[in-house]
Symmetry: C2
Subunit: 362 residues, 2 copies
């Protein structure tokens, strides 16, 4: 299938929702991809099933501090360089590209990259959401090695990182390098086979981002955007456990940038006249929502905050005192909830004390 | 020529002297090279003139915090990996290896590497001394690109860094990566041709380190080690401007580790009964010696501190209150004193206010 330029608006909005507060601003990514598409044409979107088992697939992403990502963007040459360096290093060409995460800017950057490289883009990713660290993907959980990882910056400096089987070691090296390279870099990593994409990818997430954006757009026309969004999610293969868990306004907000992450929490008070309160804790992404101390939704399930009137997804950076918000809890893909996956990006990976409980059981 | 195992003791001592207080502990390097030589045989030492103009030469070095270098050493596999990765990345084999700096541990590590790889080692380096940062070499001054640079660690993680023509950019990236990799890494960089080694290398420094060590040994037998050392230096092609600028004991010492460097200064009071004092400022290496405010020796000329009785070179890390020391000022190679070189590693590169004046004019 092919997206239209107009579709990108909805993909970006859907990706912002799936970004659960983090993942960088997809609207900036949209600008980048639109100009790439105008120059190189719209890339083909293919399904994991369309890949040969032996096909070579690279992930491509931006990585760094969200605020800087938005300001610096990507020149395109840095994207080309990352892919070219990887191809030269491996001694083989990419047959397709794929997002590493669908949430946020990394839904869009691969569209730009695929357009520039004239490669198909796979309708799948390694999260079905956004996460702050590069080991936090299904590919890593199920044995695809993160490295070689190629990092490039806007001055066309490059790094090829190899850390054997340790994706966490790669994360540490990528992180310090990206900070030194100006807090925003392009990364190609997790090169894998078509078979691995089929087995370990979270399928269909690019088109689901598009449909989420469309549902919000449709809901706005009909006057019920949050409800329309929830209605659509319930029809999807795995985002279908979806609850509007709170309707409130922000009465307290603590947010600070620590070790390159935006950390903090916000408190919401109910708008229904009751004295109910919801606390949402974040590390780039919203991690857990607790109502008067009781868990309502917890990572890797999605905690999403949207404007209560327009359903516009609200990133952590844009939270404001007094803002009126609906909070949704949404089920993650089954592969994201396995014991193996929870060991890598369950609540304990973020230092939370609470155990993971699926949203449908809360 | 071939060194003997016994020669390594003297090379290490001479390299400690040329390390001007820094460069890491060559005695640890000697242990590593001795065991490599016992396993693989002593490598051939060749002169720059023996190289074909088109020959491919790699530098090889350890890099990191001196204290950690001494504790961790190098496994040998990390050295092999750095060279193999470079050869694969460039698509050509090394014809010879070369030290990047002769001062300190990096005189010895290349002997180990050459033994393991069965490659000749070039009797030259890029400083004729030690310096704390990787752009501070004649190769960089005269247009040999620092990168690709390959970094490896003891867990066999690796990084290939490319920063175009900016060696300072490479330094910044290498530095943060080496800290993340445990403050001690192996680096191969500054790949160059035989012609470039001939034109931009500081020649003969490995054998001069050997002869410096021998002079100290001979002087000890004859009861005048510092004098014998100075006598030998005056016969060399460029270390020949050599002055014993102070004979004193340490009466004040400030030393701290900042940004990965050992920074500080020490004060010496004269032992001749006068009230003369000498201040020596260091950043890993001794940079400047001032007697009552008047410059006596200044970087890139060598400021060396040795035990006043045994002429044993004293590294910054081993300075102690009350220690009795002779301080020598020694001329650097002419290529190290050009306008171009001074711009890269003259006094201003270290934040000093004083202008460079050759030791012979002070």
């Amino acid at each position: 299938m092919k997206l239209s330029i107009k579709d990108l608006v909805n993909v970006a909005r859907g990706a912002a929702f799936l970004g659960t507060g983090g993942g960088g601003d997809p609207y900036i990514g949209r600008m980048l991809s639109v100009s790439a598409i105008q120059e190189y044409g719209m890339p083909e979107i293919i399904e994991p099933e369309d890949l040969d088992d032996e096909a070579t697939v690279f992930t491509i992403a931006m990585l760094g501090a969200p605020t800087v990502l938005s300001e610096k963007g990507a020149s395109g040459e840095d994207v080309d360089l990352a892919i070219e360096k990887m191809e030269k290093h491996l001694g083989k060409k990419a047959d397709a590209l794929m997002p590493i995460e669908i949430g946020g800017v990394n839904s869009m950057l691969p569209i730009m990259a695929a357009a520039r490289r004239n490669l198909p883009l796979v309708n799948a990713d390694g999260m079905g959401r956004a996460f702050p660290e590069i080991q936090m993907v299904t590919f890593n959980v199920y044995g695809v090695t993160c490295t070689p990882a190629v990092i490039t910056d806007e001055h066309l400096n490059s790094l090829i990182i190899e850390t054997g089987t340790s994706a966490k070691r790669a994360e540490d090296l990528v992180r310090v390098s990206s900070i030194e390279m100006g807090c925003s870099v392009i990364m190609s990593s997790y090169t894998m086979t078509g078979k691995q994409v089929k087995d370990f990818g979270v399928h269909g997430t690019l088109t689901m981002a598009l449909e989420i954006g469309r549902a919000i757009e449709k809901g706005r026309k009909e006057g019920e955007p949050v409800e329309e969004l929830a209605r659509y999610l319930r029809t999807t293969p795995f985002y279908n456990q979806c609850k509007v868990i709170f309707d409130g306004k922000i009465t307290d907000l603590r947010r600070e940038v620590t070790n390159g992450f935006t950390m903090g929490h916000c408190l919401l008070s109910a708008l229904d006249g009751s004295d109910r309160t919801l606390e949402v804790v974040f590390q780039n992404e919203f991690l857990i929502a607790k109502e008067d101390g009781v868990v309502r939704a917890i990572v890797p399930d999605l905690v999403c905050m949207v404007d209560r009137e327009t359903a516009e997804p609200i990133p952590v950076d844009s939270l404001k005192y007094g803002q009126r918000i609906k909070v949704l809890g949404v089920s993650a893909a089954p592969i994201m909830r396995t014991k193996e996956s929870l060991a890598v990006f369950g609540p304990q990976a973020f230092g939370l004390d609470e155990k993971f409980t699926p949203i449908e059981n809360l």
